[in-house]
């Protein structure tokens, strides 16, 4: 049941209409991993009770599938509503799958052997942004597999800023080193201030209690 048309007025040019959708007409999305049964029964009503059902679901008009808003849909069904506000988009299968991936990566992670991820991976072969998303998911995936293993915390260390300091002589350089309390040699390319223990720590080693 469409009640208005956005078409040219919306900056998201794939959003074509908005309106109200009869719940009976909505199709569950086969790519969207079903978490409903895993959610504690009272969680939804407790969290969303004060919000009402104003949030719109996103529906792909080509397929009739729900793209986003399953939580609200579930709440509407539980509240015995007959219709729900909807935004309609016009997407082919690959686009629909990509949008689900972008909006709901956690569900994909939980169902990572499911059809959504397989479809996304295929689509990602020729789509750089999607490939980037999948790479990020893979990294998270691998870290999740590392449960029960030795600590591994490895983030990118970025300097807040860097400046180039010029010395007229070795004496000046040594004076600067003394001033900041660090060793600077002919081989030194850069330093951190304050000094940080990163990279190769020749003064540390790992020993084991059981050895």
């Amino acid at each position: 049941m469409l009640t208005s048309t956005l078409a040219d007025s919306n900056s998201l040019d794939r959003v074509i209409t908005e309106g109200e959708e009869t719940l009976d007409d909505l199709l569950a999305n086969p790519y969207n991993y079903d978490l409903f049964s895993r959610r504690p029964p009272d969680l939804l009503s407790n969290v969303l009770e004060g919000w009402g059902w104003r949030q719109r679901v996103i529906v792909n008009r080509q397929s009739g599938h729900i793209i986003d808003g399953c939580t609200y849909l579930e709440g509407a069904i539980a509240s015995d509503e007959k219709v729900i506000s909807a935004i309609y988009v016009d997407l082919d299968d690959a686009e629909e799958c990509a949008l689900i991936g972008a909006l709901d990566w956690l569900r994909i992670m939980v169902g990572r052997d499911g059809p959504t991820l397989a479809f996304l991976r295929q689509a990602g072969e020729s789509n750089e942004p999607l490939k980037g998303l999948l790479d990020a998911l893979d990294a998270i995936d691998l870290s999740m597999e590392w449960q029960g293993m030795p600590e591994f915390t490895q983030d990118k260390i970025n300097a807040w800023g860097a400046i180039r300091v010029n010395f007229l002589s070795a004496t000046d350089r040594d004076g600067f080193a003394a001033l900041i309390g660090q060793t600077i040699t002919d081989q030194t390319h850069s330093i951190w201030y304050p000094k940080r223990e990163i990279d190769h720590c020749t003064l540390n080693c790992y020993v084991s209690d059981e050895s």
């Binding site: 990572r112 052997d113 397989a118 991976r121 893979d138 990294a139 691998l142 870290s143 597999e145 590392w146 449960q147 029960g148 293993m149 030795p150 600590e151 591994f152 915390t153 490895q154 983030d155 990118k156 260390i157 223990e197 990163i198 990279d199 190769h200 720590c201 020749t202 003064l203 540390n204 080693c205 790992y206 020993v207 084991s208 209690d209 059981e210 050895s211």
Partner: protein, 300 residues
Amino acid sequence: MNPNFPIYIPSKGRWSTLLTSHRLHAMGVPHFIIVEEQEIHWYEAAKDNSATLLVLDRRYQQEYDPCDELGDSKSKGPGPARNFAWDHSLAGGHSWHWVMDDNTRWFYRLNRNRLASLADGTAFRVMEEFCQRYENVVMAGPNYLTFIRARERCAPFVANTRIYSCNLIRNDLPYRWRGRYNEDTDLSLRMLKDGWCTIQFNAFLQDKETTQRIPGGNTKEFYEAEGTLPKSQMIVDLHPDVARLVERWGRWHHYVDYGPFRYNRLRRKKHMDIKAGVDNYGMRLVTVGGKEADEYLTSL
């Protein structure tokens, strides 16, 4: 804590350096060195107590598939000794084995953007137990130190790529080493093409002496005379679907695309009881030269 599975180091002409063996000895890790009969007395004199020598059965050299037509006119590389190790491990009733190059200087752990050396064999046990969580992981090993930047973000491991120089291998497989060169790449690719998974650890790293920098091994036989072209050409010939020849910095290299194997999904064994959170297996960081490290080293 020591590894559960036996470690083998094929070695040739390097009794005077024996880097990997000396390192494992310093870590208190027992291991085998596989040598050719004519060199055994040199190795006997040079080896540490942690090392046990095994003489390579010549049949493994005679029956080895070098993947070329040169026969015995050139060295067949470490492949025959690696196959010998595989069978020796099977005969000992083991389900996995380690095989390592003989020119590894150090093993490291990476964590919190720090690289610190490993003073014992706990990391090998960790890698073994991690692999045994999965029903379809067949080969694993630490990444090269030179491929990791401690200031960059990375995952604790990467799945489905080449495992080289320090290989933990599942024994109950029909594969065996082959090829005169790049056996690691070839074995990895054959496994991956069959849908198995490999695991390259970034949490643990190996620091190898550059292949052509120390004498012995394959240096004299291969690289001094012919350069790197035959080495790279062989892997391209064996796997033209994913490998190609490239010239970089005046030398020939092979480039292998492991992309097609990224979708070999890790499958956990059923009923695996995996604890959430961190288990450091008792490993802790100490300062070398500090009291705790001195006490530890004295106790070895």
